[in-house]
């Protein structure tokens, strides 16, 4: 029987022992790159493997065999799958996503503008939602099982059950139509001033905040509660420390990592929420672009948007994991 399990001499192993934190972070980053690559295969290859011929869809009713063949050649669909995948991936890495079938325009140009708009909207929503959610979560823990906590619990439970479009139209009906204090649709264009822009996205931002707030708050509450019930919090209490000091000095450093994780996860959730909200408010972002493309089966646009959304999502998840790794005292101070 062989017994060659001596791995200590490997350079990777030694690096890991000397810099466990760095090694884990690098490992996590590499995993994300790998994941993104796999996702690209899934989005491109999976789509190709599914039934349904693009050329005939593209031509609609007027599809004669000759026309289909011509279109296939024109769109490059007659070449082998693998070749096309690597061309597509090569282009995507350099920011070139090909040409839209519907508009015959460059996908990248459209995406460039709209991605900025979407990130602005999601980012603005995050800036408001994150402190609010964490604050409410702490409040809820402070009043645990008392009236404020129960009220927050019921409201947040209701809020996570509301579809985004319902909240959106409710806000439009009241604030834009009935009271006229906000604008609809949320039109933004290049050269628009920041104040104008913020005014235009007030309602979509409010919708996103409401959508993500309840989730984030409930998860924050759970994260803090699990820290509060740990044995070292009992130790703090038995040391006669004040509640304030116990929370700030003993609970907070340990709750930080889970809360950061909650925030990052919900930011990833925002990225998706943006799709529906953009359609509701006719906001010129990535989400609306993608939904329009799906309706007309404009594959290059769908694939580009799918990949970009997935990339942002994967990036945020990676960020969450890395921050959690860095916040862990066991890894920061190795034996």
């Amino acid at each position: 029987m062989s017994n060659s399990t001596e791995t200590e001499s490997l350079p990777g192993q030694r690096f890991r022992e000397r810099f466990p934190l760095l090694a884990l972070v690098i490992e996590r980053m590499l995993l994300s790159v790998l994941l993104l690559f796999a996702v690209s295969v899934l989005i491109f290859g999976g789509v190709e493997a599914l039934p349904g011929d693009f050329a005939s869809t593209y031509l609609g009713q007027s599809a004669t065999p000759q026309a289909v063949a011509n279109i296939r050649a024109e769109l490059g669909l007659d070449r082998p799958l693998v070749t096309r995948y690597f061309e597509w991936l090569g282009g995507a890495v350099q920011g070139d996503f090909g040409t839209s079938w519907a508009s015959r325009n460059s996908v990248s140009e459209q995406v460039g503008n709209r991605l900025g708009n979407s990130l602005f909207l999601a980012g603005f929503a995050a800036v408001i939602a994150v402190p609010l959610a964490v604050g409410l979560g702490m409040l809820s823990v402070h009043f645990r099982d008392r009236l404020p906590d129960k009220i927050i619990n019921v409201i947040s439970l209701a809020a996570i059950s509301l579809p985004e479009f319902f909240i959106g139209y409710l806000l439009i009906l009241y604030f834009a139509v009935n009271f006229g204090v906000a604008t609809f649709p949320a039109t933004v264009f290049e050269g628009m001033g920041l104040i104008e822009r913020i005014k235009a996205i007030a309602l979509p931002t409010a919708t996103l905040v409401l959508v993500v707030l309840a989730h984030m708050m409930r998860m924050t509450r759970a994260a803090i509660l699990s820290v509060m019930s740990s044995a070292y919090m009992e130790t703090a209490e038995l040391k006669g420390l004040s509640a304030w000091r116990a929370i700030v000095k003993h609970a907070a450093p340990n709750a930080l990592a889970p809360i950061i994780n909650v925030v990052a996860l919900n930011l990833a959730y925002l990225v998706v929420g943006v799709v529906v909200v953009e359609v509701v408010f006719v906001y010129p972002g990535m989400g609306q672009y993608m939904v329009d493309a799906v309706t007309v089966r404009d594959m290059p646009v769908v694939q580009a948007c799918g990949l970009i959304f997935a990339a942002v999502y994967i990036f945020l998840n990676m960020l969450a994991d890395i921050l959690a790794i860095v916040a862990n005292p066991r890894l920061r101070h190795p034996r």
Partner: protein, 547 residues
Amino acid sequence: MPETSSNLLTVRNLKIEATSYPPGEPPKRITIVDGVSFDLQKGRVLGLIGESGAGKSTIGLSALAYGRGGAEITGGEVILNGTNILALGKGGIRKVRGARVCYVAQSAAAAFNPAHRLGDQVIEASVKHGLMTKEEARKRALYLFRVLGLPNPETFGDRFPHQVSGGQLQRAMTAMALCPNPELIVFDEPTTALDVTTQIDVLAAIKHAIEETDTAALYITHDLAVVAQISDDIMVLRHGRTVEYGSVKQIIEAPTQDYTRALVNVRQTARQEAPDQSKPLLKVDNVSAQYSNGFKVLHGVSLHLCKGQTLAIVGESGSGKSTLARVVTGLLPPSEGGITFDGKPLTPALKNRPREDLRRIQLIYQMADTAMNPRQTVRDIIGRPLAFYDGLRGAAKTARVKELLDQIEMGNGFIDRYPAELSGGQKQRVAIARALAARPELILCDEPTSALDPLVAEGILKLLMKLQEEQQLSYVFITHDIAIVRAIADSVAVMHRGRLVRFGPKSQALSPPFDDYTDLLLKSVPEMEIGWLERVLNTRRMESAGN
């Protein structure tokens, strides 16, 4: 006892209740502690002893006016230096906790905050209560680290909790409790989570530190032998009530209650060993094993067991004793060596092993709670091996289940109960019946009594020995308890860090000359004898002086 002014702590008629939430039933009020009274003078140690659920930790925490997990102090008085601390408000009790009364938890690993350095946590209470400046507190911490025999006391405080060993953490927690110069420390099973060879050091350190600082202490444990080393007085508790309360000498040497007597006398009989035979039933030949991550847990272990006999495997946690049992069952196939059972080689991996071989070797676990499916009745639990191995059905199966219940000395009334409706000892008996149902020749017992209270454990051991005699069973009995080994074994194997350090008939294995490890192990096991700790420490000091 009359209340005297010299009492540091007086507890009178303490009553503690909690609300329990039994599944599928409305919440119930339960009484955890009822009518407990005691006195403690300055500089003295009172041992609180009892089984799990006796309410001893709850009583200990009442000295800090603290109820854990929903426990509420609903009656009685806890008087500390003339003040009833139960009557103090939130602010008042905060001035007592961490300043005048400190607490040492069973699991220091969980009780220390992973985010802060040990030194900062040790001095925190002293500084925050304004008892000393940061500099003074640091100096005192350094002094305490020295007293408690911690390595590199100057830099020890710079470390994080996860960077030091369990025994060191427990001592650091003691330092944390001693730092503010409290009047009273509550030690809540401070050595229970430690191995015996580590326990003796921590015990010695705690004893030394208590003497040095002249602090009073409540010492909570389930081990009478441990408490005998450290206490002046002992209170024996059962089901939240006082059974007996007296000096250590009286409790150990002249107990008045049956329960105390049973605790003191448990397992002091030894069984005559059977002679070794030429054809062993189980033969482990030069077996090594490793986990899938390549970590080697067993190094060339060879031993054997004869039919109808008991082989006791002794060792501390991490010694590989349970792993050896897993290798025999096939759960962890050996990386080297082989196992012979009844003269034929045993298939290494479980999934390739013939059903007949599986039937002949059965395993009994330490925790009967987790070893039985909570959603099956006793009938299903014992009946399944009957159906699985022997194809018994219906009435024949029920008859056999009842027969087995008789063998384990439980009535037929238990047949339709779920495990949650049984006591700890009854669960372990059902687990034994499940093993018997397979008509085994060898039963591997993995610490089957260590989670049980001493009296219940004694009953289980007697049952196992009775069954051995009736059915010619062979046992591999894994334990860390030398007293059990003396009581039931024919042959003994001592394991340490994955290696077999000693193997042979009990009379040889447990008599000198010893190897270093067995010597250390045997000397570390607390004995039910006042002054044992001093004696061992003195011998050690002489030995090291002699070197």
